[in-house]
């Protein structure tokens, strides 16, 4: 009989997992399931729904810290932060629509479990860099904690890093404590036009290597730019390279002027003001451009920024792909027709030459079952991964196989 359990406390969760460990009865661990399409599909008799472990239990804006139940809706967290002009600085995207669901769903625990980060990753880090501490229940059915509520903390192993991005395979998060930061007073985006991928990455490298504290550097090829909801970009009639500056008013103005001057050899530039800046970077964070057609597979590739264009070239030589470059060229988001094994071998072959990883972000369940969703690990690393899994979840009851087969 298939059941989904919805505990209301860490203690209930522990009792449930103690039972599941005893029975060797694996569970699918979810918040609201908004990112269920990310990762390998798993089949378990039972489910563990953490969405009742909710509520912000501590929020001290002046201390830049927030603690919340893992099942707290992201919308609630965002609203509380916005009231105090603060935010999650790592700018996680809303991938709901990409996975065919509504926008605005998801929980803070799910966000941590997937280690998402948006365009500001290059400056502010990912979810991993903002989780200060947590409480969770291991696959042994034990409630444990790690970290704390302060930023500077080296007391014991940094298990916060380990659970972030572990897709619920190590422990069921029950409470998380995050670093929160003031939202920028002002934001501007400098736009460059008509650059090819290589020229765009070179321009972004110049900008990112400057002292201007670029907080977003993305390149939209012509067909992607055309689909933007920002009229300046959609109407540009070609590729658009975008560089974002955020901060205090006078600072943003000064940096924008300086950057514009330094890049004037690249032709005419334009700037986006606050509203359009917000709209553009939201599109990039949410990967809006690749939501449709929904039957295409979407990949997320992380390489050293200067290698972005060559990985793109290698794949576009083989298959019709739509793509954009974020993180100054280091993040490639691309969509291709399904089929041919999702082009995994071609893509991973190209990535292997330069170092990095390719994750199958969206694909039909059958394909996610057939090929590795996460970049395959070399044997010694895979063995260590399995041992780490066992150190938390020896009976492999938590989301088994969600990341790697058998783990």
């Amino acid at each position: 009989m298939s059941q989904t359990f919805k505990p209301t406390s860490a203690e209930q969760t522990a009792e449930l997992l103690t039972w599941a460990a005893g029975e060797e009865a694996p569970l699918e661990v979810i918040g609201t399931g908004s990112k269920r399409g990310l990762g390998r599909p798993i089949q378990t008799a039972n489910g563990l729904d953490l969405s009742d472990l909710k509520g912000i239990t501590l929020y001290e804006p002046a201390e830049l810290v927030m603690t919340a139940g893992a099942g707290t809706p992201l919308s609630e967290i965002r609203a509380a932060l916005a009231e105090n002009r603060q935010e999650l600085a790592f700018e996680p995207g809303d991938l709901g629509p990409l996975f065919g669901g509504p926008a605005g769903e998801g929980t803070i625990g799910g966000l941590v479990a997937c280690n998402l980060a948006g365009p500001r990753r290059i400056k502010a880090g990912a979810a991993r860099d903002h989780l200060l501490g947590f409480t969770a229940v291991s696959g042994r059915g034990e409630v444990f904690k790690s970290g704390g509520r302060v930023v500077k903390n080296v007391t014991g192993y940094d298990l916060s890093k380990l659970v972030t991005g572990s897709f619920g395979t190590l422990a069921a998060l029950t409470e998380v404590t995050l670093k929160v930061l003031p939202a920028a007073e002002k934001a501007r985006t400098l736009l460059l036009f008509g650059l090819d991928d290589r020229a765009a990455v070179a321009a972004m490298s110049r900008a990112l290597g400057s002292a201007h504290e670029i907080s977003g550097a993305a390149h939209l090829p012509p067909d992607i730019a055309k689909g933007s909801g920002v009229s300046y970009i959609a109407g540009a009639g070609g590729a658009v390279t975008a560089l974002r500056l955020e901060g205090h008013g006078p600072s943003v103005e000064a940096r924008l002027e300086a950057l514009r001057g330094e890049l004037k050899d690249l032709g005419q530039s334009e700037e986006l003001h606050s509203k359009n800046t917000a709209a553009l970077w939201r599109e990039i964070a949410d990967v809006t451009y690749l939501v449709e057609p929904a039957d295409r597979v979407v990949w997320k590739v992380s390489v050293a920024p200067t290698h972005g264009p060559e990985v793109v070239a290698a794949i576009t030589a083989r298959v019709e792909a739509r793509y954009l470059l974020d993180w100054g060229g280091g993040l490639i988001l691309l969509s291709m027709p399904a089929g041919e094994g999702g082009w995994a071998d071609e893509l991973r072959g190209a990535v292997a030459k330069v170092g990095g990883h390719a994750t199958l972000l969206r694909a039909p369940e059958a394909l996610r079952r057939q090929i590795s969703v996460f970049h395959p690990q070399p044997e010694p690393l895979a063995a260590l991964t399995a041992r780490v899994k066992d150190s938390f979840d020896p009976r492999r009851i938590l989301n088994p196989g969600r990341m790697y087969s058998g783990v």
């Binding site: 359990f5 449930l16 444990f144 080296v154 890093k161 490298s205 002292a211 990883h357 991964t385 938390f392």
Partner: protein, 495 residues
């Protein structure tokens, strides 16, 4: 402080082990003479001393791999060591263990300005990275005060911070990749020049693991362009409460300074006497606030910070007018430790972190404890991120004073935990705070951490006796008590 009982069987085999290691690391890479070993008997925490059995100084990753595999097969304990500047005894040797020194791994392997990273060997000093990239205007952001001497490998092991980590992050936020060797000799690469190592974040786990999980043999760090300008402010307050409130108000106003340091009266006087920094001497709390970025930003924020300081009762304010003056403001802060060393025969540096708002309470309680223990204390404080460095003054030549200083220190750290903080912000647990781990973590928390250790080092040969107050065998930790039977919570909501 108790270290694990030395294994006589290993000590007796010393000459055999020296010969075996000599075959792996030829030349002068194996040190076993008792006089020479003494150079390694302690690290930056000089209260504890113990000469190691043998010191090995490999030069290649293959040698590291073979040394570790050999030790693993022969049950020999290994203490990894970088520059030996740990303030928590992280590199304290064991009588029956080898020191694996990474000092010969001192080369910068690659600088990639376009991708804003550098690939270096672990023995390169923290400042050495900045020196190698500064001709292009770049620097490596984390700046522990020992940066002239401390190695990047040690920084990884300790997740080192510095005065600028409020804005620029700790070591863990500035790493991209590692090459490391497990105790069984396996060489692994994690991450690279790209962001976010995939799979479990072993890069994050390794950072701050204090040499208990593996030996780092290569590090890829992010480098940043230096801010265009930096200016510093000195702000004096009649009470530490006002200083603390000012810090909270600055951050509450959405300003994240490059650095924000606080000193109390004893620290102000000691530093000013030592380096004539020009600090005001009639204030209870002195803030040094550094703002960096484009000149327009810095000028704008200085005005804002000054206004906030006035609202909070600042009785002294001074803005640096040039680089020379800015450096002078910092000179006092940077010399605070030796300055206290001048007025006291010995001092003991603590490293707790507290929620910022608890500062006035913690300072008050510390003053009370100071009277109770009859030992002076001076405070320097990374105010922006709540990291306290109380310096307890004592005289090791007076019987019982070291023990009193240690008890005083332990009480301070317990207080930090009590108000919602942690035992160590950047110096590490090492041997120093090992026995206090129970203040912060319960038995289950600690056992879970030790199980992670077992995934890397099942025979507990890497740096044993550090971090964990009690050693458990991995077999014992892995055991599970299974209670089969009824499904719990019959009334638990199910769907």
């Amino acid at each position: 402080m108790q270290m694990p009982e030395p294994d006589e069987g290993t000590v007796i085999r010393k000459s055999q082990i020296v010969a075996d290691l000599g075959r792996i690391v030829p030349g002068e890479g194996v040190i076993h003479d008792e006089d020479e070993l003494r150079a390694y008997e302690s690290d930056g925490l000089t209260a504890y001393r113990q000469p190691p059995l043998i010191v090995v100084l490999p030069e290649t990753v293959e040698q590291v791999s073979r040394v570790l595999a050999y030790c693993n097969e022969n049950g020999i304990k290994v203490v990894p060591r970088g520059a030996g500047t740990s303030l928590s005894g992280g590199a304290l040797p064991l009588a029956d263990g080898i020191i694996l020194g990474l000092g010969k791994f001192n080369r910068i392997l690659e600088i990639d300005f376009e991708n804003r990273c550098a690939v270096v060997q672990p023995g390169v000093t923290n400042l050495g990275i900045t020196k190698a990239v500064e001709h292009e205007g770049f620097y490596y952001a984390p700046d522990p005060s020992s940066q002239i001497a401390c190695s990047i490998g040690g920084n990884v092991a300790e997740n080192s911070g510095g005065v600028h980590c409020l804005k620029y992050g700790l070591t863990t936020n500035n790493l991209l990749g590692l090459e490391m060797v497990l105790i069984d000799g396996t060489i692994l690469r994690i991450g690279g020049k790209h962001l976010d190592s995939e799979g479990y974040d072993l890069l994050g786990l390794m950072t701050g693991s204090e040499g208990l999980l593996g030996v780092v043999t290569e590090v890829t760090v992010r480098i940043l362009q230096k801010p265009a300008t930096a200016r510093a402010l000195l702000l004096g307050f009649p009470t530490s409460e006002q200083g603390g409130d000012c810090v909270a108000a600055v951050i509450g106003a959405g300003i994240i300074p490059g650095g924000m340091e606080m000193m109390d009266r004893p620290a102000i006087h000691a530093s000013d006497d030592f380096v004539q920094a020009g600090y005001p001497r009639d204030v209870e709390a002195l803030l040094i606030v550094e703002l960096d970025g484009p000149a327009a930003e810095v000028d704008y924020l200085i005005e804002q910070v000054v206004a906030i300081a006035r609202e909070h009762g600042a009785t002294y304010e001074r803005v640096s007018q040039d680089e020379e003056e800015r450096n002078r403001f910092w000179a006092g802060r940077k010399a605070a430790f030796p300055a206290v060393g001048r007025i006291s025969p010995d001092y003991y540096c603590m490293d707790g972190t507290i929620p910022r708002k608890q500062l006035p309470l913690v300072l008050k309680r510390m003053r009370e404890m100071s009277e109770q223990y009859g030992l002076g204390v001076a405070n320097v404080f990374h105010a922006g991120d709540g990291n306290l460095h109380p310096l307890i003054m004592y005289d090791a030549n007076q019987p019982g004073e070291l023990e009193r200083a240690e008890e005083f220190g332990a009480d301070i750290l317990k207080l930090c935990v009590e108000v919602g903080g942690v035992l160590t912000g950047e110096h590490g647990v090492g041997v120093e705070k090992r026995d206090l781990m129970g203040e912060m973590f319960n038995e289950i928390d600690l056992k879970q951490q030790q199980r992670v250790k077992c995934a890397f080092d099942p025979n507990a040969l890497l740096n044993p006796g550090k971090v964990f107050p009690q050693l458990h065998r991995c077999a014992e930790l892995g055991r599970m008590h299974i209670h089969r039977g009824q499904m719990p919570f019959p009334d638990l909501p199910r769907f």
